[in-house]
Subunit: 655 residues, 2 copies
């Protein structure tokens, strides 16, 4: 399908056209395929020993009439099946697996059997509350689950070419379209947890059916109108809730319906809901050439990345509502920074990038990917963080309830299992975040080794990318299959890059004039075997935060390339806050093979309080007493993979 | 009554023997008498316009059969009446007032009418749940309310010589003694909120009835035995709770019954409950010469003051359960530090001081009094803090739920009105914290101008104290009425004092050899008109926190004499965390008449981040850019009396 979006938007490269061959990333993709997907399958089938049963598959079998029993689990239990199917779909593209495909087919058969004659499909309402469907959009995740199933169906269709799942979900989407919409007699509702909007755009793109795009737009534009749908629905239900007994009006920000979407200027409320919605808004703006909606997306984007984003690319400043708070409020002790929110931010960035060809979007994808997303999973792929801490004092996590959400050790699995499958689907679809193209250009957004196929003005071009990123800043690109083809090869110059050199077929070429919106445009006539080499000077440096972010006053972060570094007790003894780092210290980066399978370590000379001079007194007159100390920092994403202990990202700066 | 307590404990001076004449304190006592007591009377009678009704008096009238209606308010509503009566009692000693006394008498008449024939007295159970008394000690505050009423009755008896109230409460205490105790058939319970234990010791001291002391000891020693009384009671109730539906076993720490009291080594749980209990334990240890129990008190004391106390003398590191957390966990952003807890700590310190003659107890009384207690009330006596913040960012209090308990402005009144009346009773009884005596010594614990009468070995001695404390460290004491009487006059040398001079009848005398356990012992034969002058050099200094308290790493506090200082936005512009203070800066203290009726200001040269050099970027490479800045600090207790704005106690230190 070819469309002309806003200002000639970029095309995604089909996942099957991208082959990743990266020492760094292949390992993660293998973990997702070999560990997370099978583990999640066991979870869905209640085959995990010390974990609360999921019953997701059981619920589906009951709904399909194949088993007797009662619905068990959360009202959004179906979404776990959906995320698993979506991850499976991407994994089948990356690495075909007949057995796995058969397994997925069997689940799709169950979905088909469970689907009602009118297209409706949701195990909670089919099994537990028949007749109550669409009565509690505010709390009950029906449209959310539908959205995830639609995403999975689209992915599965792309992966296998099979149409059954897509047809099931199209029927459900048709049903939803018959229930919701601007027409008289239809419900003027919208989801309590946004997700279906972006899924409907995907379904539109996969099927060409414009009703799905219109329905997505309807959900966006209806949202936040006064009188509020959730209030009306609440009254209709007689004030009965699924969770607790609050009135919806108390927390409109939480679900981003506090005002019409087009009037929203700041990111508020539940971070995952927010970025899923912004993602759909960008999609819709692109598809409908809606400049006004795009401008809203830009405002929200700017608000997040210039005022509400942790340096690790994470979002969510409070556990209460897993939410944004307000501009420059980035507390480190009580951070939330949910893994899923970072992933959602990547979705949003990815959609904006498709529209705007500006490296700032790809920069944030990189920032989140290499830091707050990867931190969400242990290096062995077997345990996960929901909350990604910025500093850890294990005793405080255990004994101070204000910090009980900050876990010092990753958990095996959760009863609300959103983050692990979200990581799985992101890693298995990583290939779609690396490149995009227009009719006369190929963009390289992410530096991940491998091969990708493009069609540029009818010519089949293959790019081979070779790099040791993120450990090294040299990226070699070889163009294959070109024959006097003119196009631009556009390489993102990362925001962290202070110095860069460019070599075209081995000859140095100036960069300055080639830069546009953060990309180095190499515009020339290409032939088979041509090479471009970009050398990003990658040295560790200290970063500061905007002084408006009060929590980081007088503190600095070690960063090298895309990686944020942190201190762990393991390398620096306990009581990390007593360490200080001189602004002009010499940071030395060394790749260490013995660090958890290999990784960069940054060392430098710093100081720490001389604790020996203290007795039992809690306070005493000032007495400067510090000793020299060798600071050792490791990449943030690697933390928490050795012994339980303290961790610290923002280090006190000594001036 | 004369008793020989553990190692010749000190005697309290009757409140009526102490007359306060202090520019600093008289103002506060007047506020308590002229503002808080009448305001609270209006509250108890539902005569406040924009405040939730209290119905405390109404409940009492209903219980007394004088009015029809239903019980309204909290299960502990009676305690508000008790605290009011207690404050009234002290105020009648400080400043007799016939009208107020009549008003109090009328309330006491109501109490008499409400009291049941068997002595029972609690409006909630009489009016709302007759027949259910003593079924939920864990949650329902029956013994707590009884305790406050007993305290009030003892105070009222001392103030007026009238015995009616004391008799009412003795009857109730007798009834309680018939219900609880080690004897067969009696309940083996103890209060969910400790308070009656310390009250029973007061009642014992007032009446000489040793059963009350035994009952207090029983409550202490029964507490925390396994099987747990609250579990048994919960089962008996059929698992029904007054609040929520948790099982008591989930939060034993909260009420300090997680283990037998004598096995407790660290302060845990709800801070007010804890210090009220420790107060009673010290009282009982003194009365029963129980060295083992005293040792437990010492351990708990040490744990608090060397590991869990804010520099302002406040306690409580989390809002969750208004509780202690663990050693060295003193977060500034999420502090609780309830005013009532500081007051309870003063009670505990006061009892330990009576036993141990060690200045550390009086030091903590001073520290809490001049900082976290006074901070609890506005300078006009009309609004109050429950939570005493260590740093305030008003927008964070409003928009980040993790900090919603940190109010940036004092509140008029609360539905749970514990702190204002607690301040009132402390201020009106301030006279009892200044001195104590033994058979051959007079101790001056607090430096508060006025006059006090003592009987030392049969001789009537009057001390006249003159000082501008806390603004100035000179204290002049004149001895009146002595005639060749030998005794020690013992002046506390405060922990903050670095240099001190002593003048006896105008002649300098060395201090060194006179010091014992923090007191300067002036042991001599005294005659009428003898004077002692102590000059404590009072200069501002910077204080550090023990490095184990991670939240204060690299930070310093300005302190001068007993006063902790803080920065306010009003004097220092917004974004206080960007200010840093050099360790060797010259601190200059100036008394400023224009500061809120007069107060000390500390100024010094510091730095602040040059915010002008920042654009919209959230993070950027380090770039040291600071400008010189004149820091202006005011006493912590005065904060929040001008415009709403930021406040900061711990200042980043620049080295």
């Amino acid at each position: 399908m070819h469309r002309d979006d806003i200002r000639g938007a970029l095309r995604d490269i089909p996942l099957e056209n991208v082959q990743i061959n990266s020492e760094f990333w292949s390992k993660y993709m293998d973990l997702a395929i070999d560990r997370v997907i099978p583990y999640q399958w066991d979870a869905l089938n209640d085959n995990l020993a010390d974990t609360e049963p999921s019953c997701a598959i059981k619920n589906l079998r009951i709904a399909a009439g194949l088993e007797e029993g009662e619905f068990y689990g959360m009202v959004f239990q179906d979404s776990d099946i959906a995320k698993w199917l979506e991850a499976v779909a991407y994994s089948l593209i990356v690495r075909p697996d007949e057995t796995l495909e058969k397994l997925a087919d069997s689940v799709i058969d169950l979905l088909e059997k469970a689907q009602l004659a009118d297209g409706y499909l949701n195990t909670y309402y089919i099994v537990k509350e028949p007749g109550k469907r669409w009565t509690n959009l505010w709390e009950c995740h029906e449209l959310y689950c539908a959205g995830h199933l639609i995403e999975a169906a689209v992915a599965y269709n792309k992966a296998t070419g099979k149409s059954k799942f897509l047809e099931i979900m199209s029927r459900f989407a048709d049903h939803i379209d018959s229930v919701f919409g601007p027409e008289q007699g239809k419900l003027k509702g919208y989801p309590g947890h946004q997700e279906i909007e972006l899924a409907l755009v995907k379904l539109y793109r996969a099927t060409g059916e414009s009703r799905y795009l219109r329905l997505a737009s309807f959900f966006i534009d209806e949202r936040g109108k006064d009188p509020y749908y959730f209030d009306i629905e609440y009254e209709k239900r007689g004030g009965k809730n699924h969770w607790g007994d609050r009135h919806p009006s108390g927390s409109r920000d939480y679900n981003q319906y506090h005002r019409p979407v087009r009037d929203q200027k700041k990111a508020v409320g539940h971070a995952v809901r927010a970025v899923y919605m912004y993602t759909a808004m960008a999609d819709i703006a692109a598809e409908t050439k809606d400049e006004q909606l795009l401008e809203v997306c830009r405002k929200l984007w700017n608000n997040i990345v210039t005022k509400q984003m942790y340096i690790t690319g994470g979002i969510g400043s409070t556990r209460h509502g897993e939410a944004f708070t307000f501009d420059y409020d980035l507390p480190n002790e009580t951070v939330y920074q949910e893994t899923c929110a970072s992933i959602g931010l990547i979705f949003f960035a990815n959609r904006m990038l498709a529209i705007e060809k500006n490296s700032m979007y790809a920069d944030v994808i990189e920032q989140a990917l290499y830091n707050s997303v990867l931190s969400g999973m242990a290096l062995d792929g077997e345990s996960f963080f929901y909350v990604n801490p910025m500093e850890v004092w294990p005793e405080a996590s255990e004994k101070n309830p204000d910090r009980s959400h900050i876990k010092s050790v990753r958990q095996k699995w959760y009863s609300c299992a959103c983050c692990p499958p979200n990581i799985a689907r992101l890693l298995t679809s990583l290939g779609s975040y690396i490149y995009s193209s227009s009719h006369d250009a190929i963009y390289i957004h992410q530096y991940i080794g491998g091969e990708a196929k493009f069609n540029i003005n009818g010519a089949d071009i293959t790019l081979m990318q070779e790099t040791q990123y993120p450990w090294d800043g040299t990226i070699k690109v070889k163009v294959k299959g070109a024959d006097e083809n003119r196009f631009s090869l556009c390489l993102r110059r990362p925001a962290w890059s202070r110095q860069v050199e460019l070599y075209i077929n081995g000859e140095e070429s100036s960069v300055g004039s080639r830069i546009k919106d953060g990309y180095i445009y190499v515009d020339r006539t290409w032939n088979d075997g041509d090479t471009v080499e970009m050398r990003l000077h990658m040295t560790p440096e200290l970063m500061h935060a905007n002084p408006e972010s009060r929590h980081n006053a007088g503190k600095a972060v070690i960063q090298m390339g895309p990686l944020v570094f942190c201190l762990e007790e393991f390398d620096n003894c306990k009581n990390l806050p007593q360490i200080s780092i001189p602004h002009n210290t010499k940071l030395q980066a060394v790749y260490d093979n013995s660090l958890l399978g290999g990784g960069m370590i940054v060392k430098c000379q710093g100081y720490r309080t001389n604790e020996d001079s203290w007795g039992k007194e809690l306070y005493r007159p000032i007495q400067v007493d510090e000793k020299s100390f060798c600071i050792k920092a490791i990449p943030y994403f690697m933390w928490g993979n050795r012994e339980k202990g303290e961790m610290l990202v923002w280090i006190r700066q000594k001036r």
